[in-house]
Subunit: 299 residues, 3 copies
């Protein structure tokens, strides 16, 4: 009996020691049965331990939350100010042509607060992944309700990260830098990667954007590095691609630089409130979308 | 002998596994003897682990530090700017009528630095508690000296959180939102919950406020959602309740919104420096109080 | 066999329990063989656990990374704004005469992101050390490449911290406060502590500073609390001492207060871009130095 107990203790000790997971995919692969969705401790390639959320349900699971894009203030006094980590916290200025946090190894926020503030974990640049998933969740939804509250969930399935060294950090730093006034429109628009929807539909997604914007959008894609004809540059268009003739990516994409043709395009959510906050007129998105957090997952 | 050792190892392994404490009350309840005050690792309801301070002395212990309110700059250039997380970091503006961080699941700061900067732990919204305790500690006091350096310590003992779903998050989000220009003065002033003092006296506490303010204050309470006659709204009046005829809650309470009648009322410490920084004239508090951090505990 | 296994388990359990290291020196001293450089979990004197980087190579190892000084925006719109934690994030103002974060127990940032943003760990004020080491590393260098990418590495070896209570916190708080307009120039300039170079040379270091600045610098030292003739005060001159006749410490030292004779001297990197960003003309440093992170270690 004691021998058996000792064997079990040994087994447990080894199991704990062995549990060095660098991603939720590792957690899944190292488990005998499907583990539940929730908080896990991961360890990056430097041995740094951090906590993040794993989605273990979508398409067999193994998805790691690596960032959230949250707009803390899309009103006129909030453009490219405190809290706009995915664009500029240094104001709207020709001196801020780069959207640095897409391209560097900075981290901020807390997984627990990912729908209440911006979040960027070490996984953003540390994990080597193949696909990207996005969940759209109303702001300040508690973690336990993220999945249920998400009104849009979509993901790539073409292993497109294989072409960009495995993650968004590398994609933006080495392939598609987010730098204003550097590119030719529309020739330098970035790739449009197809997605499948697990929740919500493309038609519904598009309907949240401005009534005038809608005609230029095709759902079922994630577009990277979208340009405007005025040479502004935006990191990502969530769930949609923009038509080549669309000169105003600021109304459909997020993550501006700090240097834009119009200061009203500056911010984590770019020009989404150009015709008023949540008014859903002309170029403005509706109130539901402006108060949405985008959760970004890798697998 | 070996058998015994193995039994002990097993016991230790089980004990470690079992030690899932969601609050300092749990730590206390799960200990055979009274554990010391200090840093503990807690685990919230999502399985997220975080460190905070437990006070294991006051009234039999079990108090969890869940937040600190620290004013980093109460001078004219610091009103509702960077560091004013309990009011507005987006300036003084009619576009900022809500004091969001009292009502959301954001987190910030570090328990170790709780008297040097604002702190908000997951416990603020995760722990279900019955009572609130406040310690007033001079800024930048090291953790080991908090208790000794606290010149005021007081707490509720009426289990008032039972009526507000167990914590400040729920109290402010669901019952008493801190939103400017929404309420009638004085009818909508929030509840005044009695406290007992463990350190310091009500008379001493009141003497730190402005000489003109004092007459309107009754110590021995914590007042929530205090209003001014100009429809400004403040989260909490520490250790005092304000008289119904007092139209200037900004001089006795902390946690303003970003939208106030006078920009000089904007900030974590509201209008406490209205007649100069630490001057202790008319409405201004003294230097000791303006350089105090308020540590908030649940049990 | 089983007995042996149990003994090993016991030994492991004890070893894990015993591994309470408050610094990388402790990690080294508690190891039988030289541990590798990398991330370790330390525990401060309050029992608070945190992760930081240990350099186990330089001069027999045992060096703890306790802070990084990173300039996020040295352009005209970035002086003493968001991200200038080692000077002022409250603008350039006579109301900000103190460089608080050198003198308090605040913490910020993340070891993983130490070359992408400012970092200040509990070790800054918790560890009792004897010597200071500085590495100069290009911004956004990943942790695994820090050592290789560092073009300057130098350290004191005189145990000078013995005279200042063991760390920078104590040095600045109790002996050499960084407060503007308090001192006589040049009499109150702080101590100049000799360093040895492990990588790079004094001549090379000096060559990165402004062509006009160079003549006033002697490499092979770290100078603390450097003054300008206009009564501005700077925390540290890295790798150099300034000559007594040098009235412009703002061009060679980092860590200004928020209150300077000229707003262009305000910022984590003080006046290093006075004659343009990275122009290397007159007083301006070159582009390489302005995009350098200073990693600070204790032993």
């Amino acid at each position: 009996m004691i021998k058996k107990i000792c064997m079990i203790v040994m087994f447990l000790a080894v199991a704990v020691t062995a549990a060095r997971n660098s991603s939720c995919k590792d957690v899944l692969d190292n488990s005998l049965t499907r583990p539940p969705s929730g908080i896990y401790i991961l360890e990056d390639s430097h041995g740094f331990q951090y906590q993040t959320y794993c989605d273990m349900l979508t398409n067999m699971g193994g998805w790691t939350l690596i960032a959230s894009v949250h707009e803390n203030n899309a009103q006129d006094n909030g453009r490219c100010t405190k809290g706009d980590r995915w664009s500029s916290e240094q104001g709207s200025s020709s001196l801020q042509p780069r959207a640095e946090n897409w391209m560097n190894q900075n981290t901020f926020g807390n997984v627990i607060s990912a729908t209440a503030d911006d979040f960027k974990s070490p996984g953003y640049f540390d994990i080597k992944a193949k696909n990207l998933m996005i969940w759209q969740v109303p702001n300040d939804t508690p973690l336990d309700n993220w999945r249920q509250a998400s009104y849009m969930r979509y993901r790539t399935e073409t292993d497109f990260f294989d072409y960009f060294n495995g993650n968004l950090y590398s994609l933006y730093k080495h392939f598609l830098p987010i730098v204003s006034r550097q590119y030719s429109w529309p020739a330098d628009n970035g790739p449009q990667i197809p997605v499948v929807f697990d929740e919500g539909s493309g038609g519904d997604l598009v309907s949240h954007f401005g009534p005038t914007t809608k005609q230029y959008l095709t759902p079922g894609y994630i577009q990277f590095r979208a340009l405007s004809s005025q040479h502004d540059v935006f990191a990502m268009c969530p769930g949609v691609k923009i038509s080549e003739s669309f000169s105003n990516a600021q109304f459909a994409c997020f993550g501006s630089t700090g240097y834009n043709y119009n200061a009203k395009y500056c911010g984590d959510f770019a020009g989404w409130t150009y015709n008023g906050y949540g008014t859903h007129t002309t170029w403005s998105v509706d109130k539901y979308l402006i108060e949405t957090t985008f959760l970004l997952f890798y697998r």
